[in-house]
């Protein structure tokens, strides 16, 4: 079976997400293009919350499976990525409800972080910094952390994040501003680690 990305990378280079989502109701290739465009954002969102690759991958799979099932319910009243990340946030919430609390990082998962081409000490420093920053994100209020994750980890615009969180764009900017200040004041040591 041919994977989507292999055959579809050049099928819809210029079509916007809203039109692709309409077409994806009857055309698997259109859905594949949407998948290709947004899989990294979805994965990063889940990775920032779950602390390990395995759970992030599971949640990413679930997010796209749910999106595939529900693609007809996308009405185009907001950006497609906001709709998709809305699914991701609900699945993430359900995941943590079922687990009861934030998971601990399994040792084997921590050791499998991708670090191609980096010397061991630099790779370790990268892992350390990622853990510290993700840990710092969990130490600030949830809505501020969510805005930061959506905008800087998943790279959504403030308008798109506003759709996902059901807040105004100004409120998102406020959450970002305060979240960054929280990170700076509460986690200065973590952010000073430089591995470059």
């Amino acid at each position: 079976m041919t994977p989507f990305m292999a055959i579809l990378q050049t099928q819809y280079p210029s079509m916007d997400d809203a039109h692709l989502a309409q077409q994806a109701r009857a055309d698997p290739e259109a859905f594949a293009e949407l998948y290709r465009r947004h899989v990294t954002s979805v994965y990063r969102y889940h990775r920032a919350h779950t602390d390990n690759d395995k759970d992030a991958e599971d949640l990413t799979s679930q997010t796209f499976m749910v999106a595939l099932e529900g693609i007809r319910s996308f009405r185009g009243t907001g950006p497609y990525i906001a709709w998709l990340m809305g699914i991701a946030t609900r699945l993430r919430a359900r995941f943590f409800r079922r687990r009861g609390s934030r998971p601990e990082i399994p040792l084997d998962a921590a050791l499998q972080l991708p670090t191609s081409g980096l010397p061991t000490d630099k790779a370790a420093a990268r892992h350390l910094q990622m853990d510290q920053i993700l840990g710092a994100l969990r130490s600030i209020s949830q809505d501020r952390a969510e805005a930061l994750i959506l905008c800087f980890i998943s790279e959504l615009s403030t308008v798109e994040a506003a759709f996902v969180l059901g807040k105004s764009e100004a409120a998102i900017r406020m959450l970002i501003s305060r979240g960054l200040q929280d990170l700076r004041t509460r986690t200065s040591l973590a952010l000073e680690v430089d591995y470059e």
Binding site: M1, Y35, Q129, M130, S168, A171
Partner: protein, 438 residues
């Protein structure tokens, strides 16, 4: 890396944001996972398609059944109306006449004659001559995005905030939609968020996302540019208080938290007016400059209160309240687009959880009552002559004859004015704005 957003941040916040972005770049998907997921998705799509094909006979029969049922229902309803309720038809007559009359009057320019400006999806448009549609400004899209706008109080100019590749400027046009003229020759203020006019129409105030502890004031000819540092952060466009000695805005202070603030422009002395105001466009100065209206979200008591604050006496009066449902969370529902009628007798605003369940409310400023005038609607705006209330619902603009509205009944029927212009790119509905030329 979200460079566009990074460039809009103050320098001290950029460092932290860059670190976050660098963490994101370390989160790489493994090739094997991508391969497996792609394969799973294709298989799922295939099985979904096959399941759909198997149920196709049912899919064909189902609409036929529904069609028959619908026709029968319509015939039955028609028979009931003709035989049992003849008086209903008589009662319907005047309403239809009234609706046509309102529409004719608007189209002929007898009432609500001034142009209506709409901001939607990073574009600004004006109604055409006979109000059958909107004409987009800057159709050639020479400016990257048109974010916000404001009519001058003397009705001569429309100020529009436009941003191109992260640098903003204020552009001026008039009600004929003449080409947009930049106010600043070389703008290096960063990404501008909005603007508003002083009551005498001589000054504009604006602010940028990169430095939200600063406001800029300028004359419409670009001369007399003034920068003022503020002790608090701004989160929405300030409004000049009457007399132009201070500005009022929604912002946040590191110790007091967020709320409605007032800052004296000569001394930067800042006072918090209310810590219960939590929405960006939930305050408005009355046309006579004597009253400040704002919406306080008292989540402890579960009430959203519309407050009128009399400046001369300092009296604060709650003129209307809406219950906040229990368990609504910390930021929903929310209120927005609070504005006064030109005679200062009424206020309108929208309130609700999201775009689809918002409603437009009209309250009398003397506290005699409040009514909900439209469901699933937002961005209300009174016309200057007080005859029309415009609002947005389902990507359409509607007008309501406000003269026909009373506290006990709403006899006015909303009239569809025009579809919203498509705009440039999808923006949050909360950036939608309607404003009649004064």
């Amino acid at each position: 890396m979200n460079k566009e957003l990074l460039n809009q941040l103050p320098a001290d916040e950029q460092l932290v944001a860059v670190k976050l972005s660098s963490v994101a770049e370390q989160m790489k998907l493994s090739q094997s996972f991508q391969w497996n997921l792609e394969t799973q998705l294709r298989a799922a799509y295939q099985s979904k398609k096959e399941a759909g094909q198997k149920s196709r006979p049912l899919n064909i029969l189902s609409p036929i059944g529904w069609a028959i049922a619908t026709i029968c229902s319509v015939l039955l309803l028609s028979w009931i109306v003709r035989t049992l309720l003849p008086e209903l038809q008589v009662a319907a007559g005047p309403t239809v006449t009234q609706e046509v009359s309102f529409e004719t009057n608007v189209r002929a320019g007898n009432i609500c004659a001034a142009p209506l400006a709409v901001g939607h999806n990073f574009s600004v448009s004006l109604t055409n001559q006979d109000k059958t549609g909107f004409v987009m400004l800057d159709e050639g899209k020479t400016i990257g995005e048109l974010r916000s706008f404001a009519w001058s109080p003397d009705s001569r100019q429309l100020a529009i905030v436009g941003n191109t590749t992260g640098q903003g400027n204020i552009y001026l046009t008039n009600s004929t939609g003449k080409p947009l003229q930049p106010v600043l020759a070389n703008s290096e203020l960063g990404y501008l968020m909005g603007t508003s006019w002083s009551q005498d129409g001589k000054l504009l105030v604006t602010w940028s996302a990169q430095n939200n502890k600063v406001v800029y004031m300028l004359n419409t000819n670009g001369i007399g540019f003034v920068k003022r540092d503020l002790p608090v952060q701004i989160f929405e466009t300030p409004q000049f208080a009457p007399g132009h000695e201070s500005i009022t805005f929604y912002g946040a202070d590191s110790s007091l938290g967020d709320g409605l603030f007032q800052t004296m422009l000569n001394s930067s002395r800042t006072t918090m007016i209310s810590d219960l105001v939590e929405d960006e466009v939930s305050f408005a100065w009355s046309p006579d400059g004597l009253r400040l209206a704002y919406i306080e979200m008292d989540r402890r008591l579960g009430e959203a209160n519309l407050v009128v604050h009399k400046v001369d006496t300092g009296d604060k009066v709650v003129i209307a309240s809406i219950p906040i449902p229990k368990g609504s969370g910390s930021s929903i529902p929310s209120s927005a687009n609070l504005s006064w009628s030109s005679d200062g007798k009424a206020l309108v605003f929208d309130f609700g959880r999201g775009a689809s369940d918002r409603a437009v409310y009209l309250a009398y400023s003397n506290g005699t009552g409040m009514i909900k005038v439209a469901d699933s609607a937002h961005a209300p705006a009174f016309s200057a002559d007080g005859n029309c209330l415009a609002y947005i619902s389902d990507k359409k603009v509607f007008l309501l004859g406000v003269r026909g509205i009373s506290l006990t009944s709403t006899t006015a029927i909303p009239w569809f004015l025009a579809e919203l212009p498509t705009g440039r790119s999808i923006a949050d509905y909360r950036l939608d704005k309607l404003q009649w030329r004064p």
